[in-house]
């Protein structure tokens, strides 16, 4: 029984019993090797590295992102702010949320930027859009990965506003999922979000419907 004293739930007896049951159940499959060595023995013959050229990888990423209804442009580092200005103007967005630490050279002049200061969810809902950087992008799956680091911010920032403009540096683009995990390993305990296109659902007759709860409008700028 989970016992409760002064609001504190004590489940230590359940813990002991469950672990004892598991130990008994696993007696027949006991392996004398240390667990870490057993894990090393797991065969991983799947693809763990790129097979395409850099240009093919970037094209694949663009293609996959567009397939998910994202708006994608590729531009040289010097032209980033101009490209961003064009995208924001096309959507008629003025008041934009940005996480701390975003490269100011990428932000075009003529828009209102508010640096995230931990505002309430309702306040986040009042912005036209949000602009962030990204940690890594996976071409094969059309995914972009965000972590809680400067320039990307806390998770709510890239979630509540209805429009997300995201910068992806070409050096952060990998072809396969395992390559992305190699890069994420060192920061694996940071809050991490993978997104592939704007929010979507297929719950009604398996028809893909864009935009349920996450940002409905997604712009990606690939920075060369």
């Amino acid at each position: 029984m989970a016992t409760e004293t002064n609001g504190v739930i004590d489940t230590s007896s359940a813990r002991q019993e469950i672990l004892r049951w598991i130990r008994a159940a696993n007696q027949g499959v006991a392996d004398s090797q240390p667990v870490a060595q057993q894990w090393d023995r797991i065969e991983r013959p799947y693809r763990r590295s790129a097979t395409r050229s850099r240009e093919e990888i970037l094209e694949l990423l663009e293609d996959r992102l567009r397939d998910y209804d994202a708006n994608v442009v590729r531009t040289a580092e010097a032209e980033v702010a101009a490209a961003a200005a064009k995208m924001l103007a096309a959507r008629g967005h003025k008041r934009l949320l940005i996480p701390g630490g975003l490269n100011p050279a990428w932000l075009p002049a003529g828009f209102d930027y508010v640096v995230d200061d931990g505002a309430s969810p309702a306040a986040l809902d009042g912005f036209d859009g949000v602009i962030t950087g990204s940690t890594v992008a996976i071409a094969l799956t059309g995914s972009v990965v965000l972590q809680n680091v400067p320039g990307q911010g806390r998770r709510a920032v890239s979630l509540v506003p209805d429009h997300h403009l995201c910068f992806v540096r070409v050096e952060d683009v990998v072809e396969t999922v395992p390559e992305a995990f190699d890069r994420l390993k060192a920061t694996s305990t940071l809050p991490t979000t993978f997104f592939a296109g704007p929010s979507a659902t297929a719950d009604i007759e398996m028809t893909r419907i864009k935009g349920v709860h996450g940002p409905r409008f997604l712009d990606i700028i690939l920075v060369e």
Partner: protein, 485 residues
């Protein structure tokens, strides 16, 4: 099977053949299920064919899961240690009752005292224990936020699929539910209209409700992290905006290391929804200052899983990562839909998981709800040999019934007859004589039997049986003489 406000509980559900007869009569449901499973199957086939290393991924997936189960105690303790170190609190529940008590206690502690509410991410584990009923009984209002779960909740319905729980409803039916329950008489019937209505209905709750309840796709032992995959962003809302997050996970959900996700996150989305990656994956570890909930609780629930682990053949069931591919591929599921299985886990995986979670005290008819065609095994991303487990469980069910049940006695008698030529021939003669009053002639003079008595009636319920031939092969062979004519 649309019984209002009841839950899919294997303890009280009718047997599969009885329940299936009802759902087979619902032509709309069958049409909806057929459409949805066909679409997902085709999408899955397309994105799986893109992967030259799919079979290698499946094999690695199988090995990772098998290794995890063999070292489950180590990995659960490692997860617990790391989750606590990162600021989480870990609870253990022997069964569903304990898990519900822990979650309702936590919900009442953290949710608003005047108006206790929680927002929920779709979770089969909470469906398994009927958590919403317990929350409601404790005075806590739970809002399902996944679109399909919302349709189920507002329609007072039950999930019929692991991944797409409302696939048995079409757009007109969903529109009627939303019109009625959201008070939107003017609502259109385009899927976009329906999704927009759900967005409006839920956004206010995301911004207001301060406690969330979730399941988990994976627990990462190495880091103490949790991974949830989803499509709509409702998961991200629940994981990010509230002050308190309560995650409930079966003990089978653990993975050894962070990089094991590189296999699972390739297998799961392609198998589940036919997408190259889920629109959203979230990974978080304990509590992170300034980002997400301040209070994070994990409930690790056994609920007979350790019992399944103790069965050397049945234990591979625990390798399941809940993708639902076996349901879409199953010729039985595609005809009956999910409700006939009398459990939130339907289809092939339900046919092996449900009876084992009930320690075979209930749901004994489910291992028979299969033609053993093997389609489920072929699509399973972690290579669970479902037909093998089905046969193993049938064997257990028969043994459990004892040697004196009619089926066992009939099999024993058949064995006695087949062992002796004399007895076998006598039985054939007796059969030809006994069938005479049951045989009806068709237009071309062939004899058919449309009804058989007692246990044998199971055969003629759905098909006619030809009358026995006038002459057996042996009789003919013996009569033809030495010259061969």
């Amino acid at each position: 099977m649309n019984s209002e406000n009841s839950v899919l509980d294997p303890k009280t559900s009718p047997t599969f053949p009885i329940a299936a007869r009802a759902t087979l009569g619902d032509t709309q449901l069958r049409k909806n299920v057929r459409h949805a499973t066909e679409v997902i199957q085709n999408k899955r086939a397309r994105v799986v064919a893109e992967m030259p290393d799919w079979q290698q991924l499946r094999e690695s997936g199988r090995q990772i899961r098998q290794h995890t189960m063999a070292n489950l105690e180590t990995y659960l303790e490692e997860f617990e240690r790391n989750c606590i170190r990162a600021g989480g609190t870990v609870h253990w529940a022997r069964d569903g009752e304990e898990a519900k008590r822990i979650v309702t206690t936590l919900a009442k502690t953290y949710a608003s005292q005047q108006n206790p509410e929680v927002i929920k991410i779709k979770s089969m584990t909470t469906e398994e224990i009927h958590l919403n009923v317990a929350l409601e009984a404790a005075g806590v209002k739970a809002y399902e936020t996944d679109l399909a779960e919302l349709i189920i909740q507002l329609g007072h319905d039950q999930p019929s699929h692991i991944v797409v729980p409302a696939l048995h409803k079409n757009r007109q039916q969903i529109r009627e539910i939303f019109q009625r329950e959201m008070n939107l008489p003017e609502l259109g019937e385009k899927p976009q209209d329906l999704a927009d209505a759900a967005r409006k209905f839920l956004r206010e709750k995301f911004l207001r409700v301060n406690t969330a309840v979730s399941g988990a796709n994976f627990l990462i032992a190495e880091t103490g992290g949790v991974c949830i995959v989803e499509s709509e962003g409702n998961g991200r809302m629940c994981l990010t905006l509230p002050e308190t997050l309560i995650t409930i996970a079966g003990i089978d959900k653990v993975l050894p290391r962070f990089e094991d996700l590189e296999v699972m996150l390739q297998l799961l989305p392609r198998s589940a929804t036919g997408e190259r990656m889920n629109p959203y994956n979230s990974i978080w570890t304990g509590v992170h200052a300034g980002d997400g909930p301040k209070n994070f609780h994990v409930v690790l629930m056994d609920n007979a899983r350790s019992e399944v682990l103790a069965d050397s053949e049945g234990r591979q069931t625990l390798n399941c990562i809940r993708c639902g591919a076996c349901q879409n591929a199953c010729p039985v599921y595609r005809q009956t839909g999910g409700h006939a299985y009398g459990s939130v886990y339907a289809g092939p995986i339900g046919a092996i998981l449900t009876p084992q979670l009930q320690q075979l005290h209930h749901a004994q008819s489910l291992p028979y709800a299969s033609s053993l065609c093997g389609a489920c095994y072929e699509v399973c991303p972690v290579k669970i040999n479902i037909p093998e487990v089905l046969i193993h469980l049938r064997n257990k069910v028969v043994k459990q019934k004892g040697p004196l049940n009619p089926e066992a006695l009939a099999m024993k008698m058949a064995g006695t007859l087949f062992r002796s030529e004399r007895r076998f021939r006598a039985a054939q003669r007796l059969g030809r004589f006994a069938e005479t009053p049951l045989v009806r002639r068709d237009g071309s003079g062939d004899g058919w039997i449309g009804w058989l008595p007692g246990l044998l009636g199971g055969w003629t319920q759905v098909r006619d049986l030809r009358e026995m031939p006038k002459e057996t092969f042996r009789d003919w062979w013996e009569k033809r003489g030495k010259r061969g004519n």
